[in-house]
């Protein structure tokens, strides 16, 4: 049995699943920061 497709699929999942979660978290954080900064401009300074 050729195992390479199984290995390739496992690596693809091992890269894509964490990458998708990381991108989604990053986008959500940026969106929340933008919205909060629009309402309370001093919020960004306070968080640093």
């Amino acid at each position: 049995m050729n195992v390479l497709p199984f290995v390739a699929l496992a690596y693809a999942a091992g890269v894509l699943v964490p990458a998708a979660f990381a991108l989604a978290a990053w986008a959500r954080l940026r969106r929340a920061e933008r919205r909060l900064a629009a309402i309370d401009p001093r919020a960004r300074r306070r968080e640093r």
Binding site: F6, V7, A10, A13, L36, I39, E47
Partner: protein, 300 residues
């Protein structure tokens, strides 16, 4: 200008003070009676947590990306094939780190749940709610990669082996926690129910770990132990440990980013509510332009 004692920043009317609108994520006023609780509360302050996590997040993310990339490349192209399983053993470099992350992620979920039940701190509730989906993804990745490894080695995508079944239970515990937290109209009840489930489910962790010792399983035994020499060759051990460390840092970075976003979203909702109430009281309305959204909010 009014000095906010909790956050140490200047607040000016008519902007609502965060101390006034943030009770939903503020620590309880009473001093904790449990030993060590004061330190926990220091880190549980949302403002302090945001500053601390803001500095930590880039390092965690960079470490997670670099170490995962190095470990996966090493495992895929440099590490030798297994003498018995051949190239299929390379799936180990995805399968084992995701399993470890799912396990210690559940430990973090249980710790946050315990903190929530003992100190009733909403930041612990938020942490548990944000750990759940990421932990479920890690457990799902472990099961999927294990299935991809099992098919060429065992001739089956799935067997009801003790290790596989207990890992599936962990996956369902994560899913149950996600569903339970969102199942109630009152968020506090959902968080409390989820915390109880998370603490009950911790009994699954030793079952997963010792399943290959307690029962005759198709799944291979543990190759690494705290008190025993590894039974895996060193040239395979290094990429495995590097990938596991990279996945762990990446998991922590994702959870931290989600938790920061959740705190900011809650703060945003509190600000909007407080300003709507203030606007309603003064009879001016509270039309709040939100830059980049092209939307406003009327007090009605």
């Amino acid at each position: 200008m009014v000095e906010s004692p909790r956050h140490g920043f200047k607040s000016q009317r008519p902007w609502p003070k965060l101390s006034a609108v943030e009770p939903a994520i503020a620590p309880p006023a009473t001093a904790p009676s449990v030993r060590g609780g004061r330190k926990v509360h220091l880190f549980a302050n949302p403002g302090r947590f945001l500053r601390f996590s803001g500095r930590l997040l880039p390092w965690l993310a960079a470490g997670g990306i670099v170490l995962s990339a190095v470990g996966l490349f090493w495992g895929a192209f440099i590490a030798p094939p297994d003498w018995q399983q051949g190239e299929a053993a390379r799936i180990m470099y995805v399968h084992v780190p995701s399993a470890w992350v799912a396990l210690w992620g559940y430990c973090a979920l249980a710790a946050a749940s315990a903190a929530s039940l003992v100190w009733r701190h909403p930041l612990a509730d938020l942490a548990a709610a944000e750990i759940g989906p990421v932990g479920a993804a890690a457990a799902g990745l472990c099961l999927a990669s294990g299935s991809l490894w099992g098919k060429p080695m065992w001739g089956a995508w799935w067997v009801w082996d003790a290790r596989l079944t207990s890992m599936l239970v962990l996956f369902f515990l994560y899913l149950g926690h996600i569903a339970l937290v969102r199942a109630f109209d009152e968020p506090a009840r959902g968080h409390r129910a989820g915390a109880i489930l998370a603490l009950i489910g911790i009994v699954d962790l030793p079952i997963i770990h010792f399943s290959v010792v307690w029962w005759n399983t198709l799944h291979q035994g543990n190759s690494l132990g705290l008190f025993s020499a590894p039974t895996i060759y060193i040239s395979m051990l290094w990429p495995l440990l590097i990938t596991a460390l990279g996945y762990s840092l990446g998991f922590a970075a994702i959870v931290l980013a989600r938790l920061r976003a959740a705190i900011l979203e809650r703060r945003l909702a509190s600000l909007l509510t407080a300003r709507a109430v203030d606007g309603g009281k003064s009879g001016q309305g509270a039309a709040i332009p939100i830059a980049g959204m092209g939307a406003g909010m009327g007090a009605g």
